[in-house]
């Protein structure tokens, strides 16, 4: 479904496990209006589609526009997805299977809809409007509860044969390393994710309770350690926290070194909740370790920089998809 009218706006939607975020965006990546709602995925796919529709319409109304003025809709969704059909093949986070995301939204909105998985869409946002702007070869690594990633080659997302390329969080950095959530050993995610950092701190505390005071900052010592609490303890020079975070950044640097040798990118964008909380020091460590461990020629002129778009990366990337749909 192509549409060559001279539209000025599209809608980007970030469909997350907990929230839906829809934004009206122009060609320069400016957000003109937006709405958020809870996903409540347990109510089922049909309910969520209706809620996405409401969100999209409210975002459009919030900037005094009508659906007729919107060229297309882009959606970042949890995956794995079938990109051609625009279906969610399966998603543990949302609990759906073979959900016809694209066709249902197109039927409801009577507009072209393009979908991609949430990680890729965030990378696309940073590529088009954020820290990767202007580069044609980009690698993105996003450190949160897990580790997401994506790759842009010659200005295009790397999708691969089954459209599941870019699982950079599961590069093996030590086959005898710590157990990963994926069931294997020594993946990047098992060294560098927020959960891996938390686990390291707990191991340190079990061995020596005096090695950290972080559990005075959490509600109880069984409580999840958030990125912002990590950042506070890091700023306080809490020994176990500093060690765990430096280890996270160092292993992310090793992964980035391999990615420099593999892709020879122009820019590596480092983002995600952990990185946003910890700031530039974390990214600097990643960059140092990466360049030290990659070939000089593969790291020549490369920029290793923090992501810029934060929570907006997915809607902006989704808006870029939407422009492609009517390009």
């Amino acid at each position: 479904m192509k549409n060559n009218q001279n539209y000025q706006y599209v809608v980007g939607v970030d469909l997350g496990a907990t929230k839906i975020y829809a934004a009206v965006i122009d060609k320069k990546g400016k957000i003109l209006g937006s709405t958020r709602a809870k996903t409540n995925a347990e109510e089922g796919f049909n309910q969520v589609i209706d809620r996405m529709f409401d969100c999209i319409m409210k975002a459009i109304e919030s900037c005094g526009l009508t659906l007729a003025e919107i060229g297309a809709i882009g959606v970042g969704s949890p995956g794995p997805l079938n990109l051609v059909e625009g279906t969610i093949i399966e998603t543990p986070n949302l609990g759906w299977k073979d959900a016809p995301l694209k066709s249902r939204l197109e039927k409801t909105l009577k507009k072209p809809v393009k979908v991609d998985n949430d990680g890729n869409v965030g990378i696309l946002g940073e590529y088009a409007y954020g820290a990767g702007h202007g580069a044609q070869h980009m690698v993105g690594l996003f450190v949160g509860t897990g580790i997401g990633g994506g790759v842009i080659i010659d200005g295009k997302l790397l999708h691969g044969f089954n459209e599941n390329a870019g699982e950079l969080g599961h590069m093996i950095l030590d086959p005898n390393g710590p157990l990963c959530g994926c069931g294997r050993k020594g993946c990047l995610e098992a060294f560098s994710s927020r959960l891996a950092i938390e686990k390291q701190i707990r191991i340190a505390a079990i061995n020596d309770l005096s090695s950290t005071t972080i559990f005075k900052k959490t509600k109880s010592k069984y409580d999840r350690i958030s990125s912002s609490i990590l950042a506070k303890s890091y700023a306080d020079n809490d020994p176990a926290v500093v060690e765990a975070i430096d280890r996270s950044a160092t292993y992310l640097g090793y992964a980035a070194a391999s990615l420099l040798n593999i892709f020879n990118p122009e820019v590596v964008v480092i983002g995600g909740g952990v990185v946003e909380a910890l700031g530039n020091a974390y990214v600097k460590t990643v960059g140092k370790v990466a360049v030290e461990n990659a070939f000089a020629i593969a790291s020549r002129n490369v920029r290793i920089v923090p992501a810029e778009l934060k929570d907006d990366s997915a809607v902006l990337g989704a808006s870029f998809l939407a422009w492609q749909a009517i390009g």
Copy 2:
């Protein structure tokens, strides 16, 4: 320099550190005639260009053709290269710097010349005419003295920003692992190359001389252990050799697992002197470890197969470049 005449033949040249191999090749990848000569790089770039010219002309004459019937020339060369200019930036193997390979050959031959680095050209050969034929997404890993690699995405070689992508031999598989020839620790090459296998066997022999009889097969125990001697001792179930080779295949499998997660390819081609000597058992181990350590969806339907073209991969890949030059 484009040329749209309806040519039937091109010449592919494999410029190696020790030999030059030129072949006349048709559109289907059939080699009609070929010549080889020693490189003798120490005589200097101009001498080698003259020798390449001789080789090309003799290959053409050997199949009763003339230069006028040749559409273009493709060359695989040691690198790093500047692909746009067609110059060899620097090459420790040949001892040249900023050597204008493409322009000198074009001046001499009055035909379009396209160059790429030897590793990439070998991958391109397997993609176009060998084990990767028909696939659009392919990863190649070549195990010899070192480890070469390359990646095809959507039918095109991955080159990256500085045209130095594809250094798969220097993916980090253990930051505390054995020292690599590149000066860093735990690269794939430090686990899986012929030199790494040889080193492991020597370590085993130092610890326990009875662990191997391989030095009865080499001229002296200081002598290089060739791939064919490795294969003989492996067939004889020499304990240290079996262990070192299984370790090589296992770590190559870990690297392949990461590459499945990163690229989600349709086919992974495993080649090089070590693999040719050891045969399918080696490739099977690689495939097993790779699939066990990658996401199911990233390895669904993937083929992990031995290379097919052996010594001809580079001239065939170079011929594919040549067709592109007049495409």
